[in-house]
């Protein structure tokens, strides 16, 4: 079946648009855009190295039955430090209020449908789907067209949310293939502070495809940290779009960790839309088997005096493929911009490959911008140095690779999460932390 036809059919099965008030218009527009653009193919410049078409030739459950995931199953995937944390749980892309626990004050979490009607309706209509202007492809439109049980997160002005918000995306693929489309809109109020940690887990052995979109709007003087940790099974694939709009002078810090899965595409878009914004982007990917990791980042310097700093590091083993595409835009107004970008890759095996494209588009002259990228293997001299000191080859390799990863690990500011990720990476590298 033509995959677009299939999606259309599913769309028409959704509850009628009239039920959804303000959201209806946004959904309808997105659906039209999807019809026009379709699912991106490798002919699309932004998808040159990543094929997702085949995921849409399959039968999926678009509207999986509500939670069959028990509290026990949830506890198996919980992150360390959850006792104090706020927890948001999505099952097959739909928010589950029963399993979620919100502890902090000043934090409002409610269905998008509701927020679109109450006091937050201006925020929702202004910012929901905003990122589709920046990602002109069908996959974003697909998410927006199917917004149903999306969530709106509001961090109150001046509120410092001390404990992190853990977001668990659980896909229950025990009975059938599942297409999950979690959708979240976050609004961080003036002078507020908040930290997010997001993970993905698939239960069962059927295939799962996640098309997740999160949009974060950051107000004046706010600080937002965002950690995406991806350790899912190899029959789970995803396109994850994170769109951050810094509308006041603010600070954001993101770390994207990708350790497994069939195909992972991370779109991270940051718009620095006010003077004196600062954005830090870090990423690490460690792939094996046939997996495919694609990190697309866009940093859009729209206003003067902003700074962005980006470092992505990757290790690719077996037949895995890595893609990195980093774009930095500096608009004509954005004088006095500092923008740095770096991408480093190590190829560990003969069949591994990497495609990288660090891209600069600069329209202002009083700027300092640089980018760099390297691709290579482990340095023979360093290996020799360690081996000459009686360290076995395998230990020497894992020691060096762990050292390579440390730069990024250090950027995870939440201690329990840092230790957790370090443990995952060390296990993979057969590196003994002790």
């Amino acid at each position: 079946m033509n995959n677009l036809e299939y999606i259309k059919e599913r769309y028409n099965q959704l509850p009628s648009i009239n039920d959804l008030n303000g959201l209806g218009v946004i959904r309808q527009k997105a659906f039209e855009a999807l019809n026009k653009m379709g699912i991106p193919t490798t002919r699309h410049e932004e998808w040159k190295y990543t094929r997702i078409g085949s995921f849409f030739n399959k039968e999926y459950q678009y509207q999986a039955n509500q939670s069959t995931v028990s509290a026990n199953e949830l506890s198996a995937v919980r992150l360390p430090g959850y006792e104090q944390a706020n927890e948001m749980v999505y099952i097959n892309g739909r928010y589950s209020p029963e399993l979620s626990v919100i502890r902090s004050k000043g934090l409002t979490i409610q269905p998008l449908q509701e927020a679109a009607r109450n006091e937050y309706k201006d925020i929702v209509s202004k910012h929901l789907g905003h990122s589709s202007n920046y990602l002109k492809d069908g996959i974003m439109a697909l998410s927006t067209a199917f917004v149903q049980d999306g969530v709106f997160v509001h961090v109150k002005k001046g509120q410092i949310i001390e404990h992190p918000i853990y977001i668990y995306n659980i896909t229950d693929a025990r009975q059938a293939n599942v297409l999950a489309q979690p959708r979240t809109l976050v609004y961080v109020g003036e002078n507020a502070q908040v930290k997010f940690v997001e993970t993905f887990n698939t239960l069962g052995t059927q295939e799962s495809f996640t098309n997740r979109v999160i949009e974060i709007v950051v107000e004046k003087d706010a600080i937002t940290e965002y950690y995406k940790i991806q350790t899912d099974a190899s029959h789970a694939s995803q396109v994850a779009t994170t769109h951050i709009q810094q509308i006041g002078k603010s600070y954001t810090h993101t770390v994207t960790v990708s350790l497994n899965a069939g195909l992972v595409r991370n779109n991270l878009n940051i718009v620095l839309d006010e003077q004196y914004c600062e954005a830090h982007l870090y990423g690490i990917y460690l792939q094996q088997g046939q997996s495919h990791i694609d990190n697309h980042t866009v940093v859009d310097h729209a206003k003067p005096h902003c700074e962005s700093n980006e470092l992505y590091k990757g290790m690719l083993d077996d037949q895995s493929t890595g893609v990195f595409n980093g774009k930095i835009f500096v608009r004509q107004d954005a004088q006095k911009t500092n923008a740095y970008q770096s991408n480093k890759n190590i190829l560990l095996a003969e069949g591994a490959s990497v495609n990288t494209k660090p891209q600069l588009e600069i329209f202002a002259d009083d700027v300092k911008c640089s980018h760099g990228c390297t691709i290579g293997r482990l340095d023979d001299e360093s290996l020799f140095y360690l081996r000459s000191r009686g360290i076995s080859e395998s230990t020497a390799r894992s020691l060096l690779l762990h050292g390579f990863a440390v730069d990024i690990l250090e950027q995870i500011k939440l201690a329990p999460i840092r230790e957790y990720v370090d443990k995952l990476i060390s296990e993979r590298l057969e590196f003994d932390l002790a």
Binding site: E45, Q332, Q335, N345, L347, L348, A349, E350, A352, S353, V354, N355, T356, K357, P358, Q359, L360, E361, I362, F363, A364, D365, D366, V367, K368, C369, S370, H371, G372, C373, T374, I375, G376, R377
Partner: protein, 481 residues
């Protein structure tokens, strides 16, 4: 020897002073492109049947293709039926055109004239001058022939060395390669051909001088250069065009083939008319240049100084097929006023232990846009491939743009690939330092730019280096302060 050279110089320069005396009507094809145009060109050139067939095949393929739109450039659609595809040199209507043009531009040409004088003084350069796609003369032919070197126009080569042309033409840039190369394959009217036999080191620089002369024409020349085992050649290419309000299309194809242990050094100083200050007129320079390191230990080096053309769209590439082969790309691209450049290179590493080096310097001024677009591809079998790329951009003025699109694809884990790029403007402290020592700002900027571009300039043969440095200064005149 010098007399001979200056005769060519005169022919080349004469456009500004005398124009050419040749038949007018008979040597021009009417505007428009169809099979008849191609038959006309082919018949004009008295070409063998296989050549005509090849052209028609290219044309039929071209009809099925779409003009590419991925480049970071903007221009009004080209009407391919408005272009004259064949024009032999003819007398110009305005004999004293030099006196009637904008004095500011005349000054530019005077400055250019000096640099050509410079070339005149330096003997030992064999030139093939191509005007409006027709080769008007090749110097030093006999002397080169003694060594077995064939250096002539491609039409001559088709007549006299059909076996070589047939074997190599389209072998590096096939007719199906891209829109403009397909067009070129269908309608090319002339160009240079060069063959260096085994073990011969070409004793002099070979040079082609291209010039678009007639109005409403497109220039489609084809260059084919073959360096057989163990040979060496250094090849220079220069281009100019008169000032016109219309946009003229230049779609050339250059193919280089380096056999085992051979080395080709190809240098270009591209100074097509860039259009006036408001972006009216100028040449669309849509060129396909590609070389193949066919044999082991071969080397191809591209050096280019791009100052002209209203739009430049070219990616001199090297296919590193032979083991231990080396590819190099050195480029300075300058854009001013409304110029647009989308240029870079492709290094395709296929053989083992292949190396490549890319140094690209972009300078943008006025409201121009300058893009570097490059591909470094390391294939599965290209063990120990090594690449280093450096792309620096300098912005002069706050309305211009500098863009970098480096594509890096690595499929072999023993490869080492590095890429770095920076973008900045000239530091106020640097200008201040010069001012302090009595150097005015404009000279200081020229000084700094020359320093910025030095790494590439050093790669040029001496004959060109002098000209190129002056060109840099002319292109950017008045863009600062």
């Amino acid at each position: 020897m010098n007399n001979e050279l200056s005769a060519i110089e005169k022919t080349v320069l004469s456009d500004y002073k005398y124009g050419f005396v040749t038949e007018i009507e008979a040597d021009e094809a009417p505007p428009g492109l169809n099979e008849d145009t191609i038959r006309f060109i082919s018949a004009k050139k008295n070409e063998p049947e296989w050549m005509l067939e090849w052209r028609l095949k290219a044309y039929n393929h071209w009809l099925k293709m779409q003009e590419p739109s991925w480049a970071n450039i903007k221009y009004d659609a080209i009407n391919y039926q408005d272009i004259k595809y064949y024009s032999a040199p003819k007398q110009k209507k305005k004999v004293n055109s030099l006196d009637e043009i904008d004095p500011e531009l005349r000054k530019t040409f005077e400055k250019l004239g000096i640099s050509l004088d410079e070339q005149k003084r330096l003997s030992g350069v064999a030139i093939d001058a191509v005007i409006d796609s027709v080769s008007i003369g090749t110097t030093f032919k006999e002397q080169l022939a003694e060594l077995g070197i064939i250096f002539c126009s491609i039409s001559e080569a088709i007549q006299e060395h059909p076996e070589l042309v047939k074997k190599y033409i389209g072998s590096v840039v096939p007719i199906t390669d891209n829109y403009f190369s397909a067009l070129n394959s269908a309608v090319f009217s002339d160009g240079s051909f060069c063959y260096i036999p085994k073990g011969v080191r070409c004793p002099m620089e070979l040079s082609t001088y291209f010039r678009i002369n007639a109005e409403g024409t497109g220039q489609f020349e084809r260059t084919l250069l073959i360096a057989d085992e163990g040979s060496y050649v250094s090849y220079l290419e220069g281009c100019t065009a008169p000032i016109r309000d219309e946009n003229q299309l230049h779609a050339a194809v250059v193919e280089l083939i380096a056999m085992e242990n051979a080395e080709i050094k190809y240098s270009t100083v591209q100074n097509w008319y860039p259009g006036d200050k408001d972006g009216v007129g100028g040449i669309y320079n849509f060129v396909t240049k590609r070389g193949i390191c066919q044999g082991a230990h071969s080397k191809i080096s591209w050096t280019q100084v791009e100052t002209g053309s209203s739009i430049t769209w070219k990616y001199p590439s090297v296919i590193l097929k032979g083991d231990h082969s080396v590819g190099e790309f050195y480029s300075v691209a300058v854009t001013n006023n409304h110029q647009q450049a989308d240029t870079g290179t492709k290094m395709m590493h296929l053989g083992k232990n292949t190396r490549s080096r890319i140094v690209s310097k972009g300078i943008s001024a006025g409201v121009s846009n300058n893009s570097y677009r490059g591909l470094v591809h390391v294939g599965k079998n290209a063990a120990n491939a090594r690449n280093f790329s450096q792309c620096d951009s300098l912005l002069l003025g706050d309305k211009c743009g500098a863009h970098t699109f480096p594509y890096i694809e690595v499929k072999n884990n023993t490869a080492v690939v590095e890429h770095e790029a920076t973008t900045s403007k000239i530091g106020e402290d640097q200008i201040f330092y010069c001012n302090q020592r009595g150097i005015d700002t404009e000279t200081a900027v020229a000084l700094i730019i020359n320093g910025f571009a030095k790494e590439v300039m050093n790669q040029l043969p001496m004959e060109f280096a002098v000209e190129a440095q002056k060109l840099l200064a002319i292109s950017l005149e008045g863009s600062v302060g």
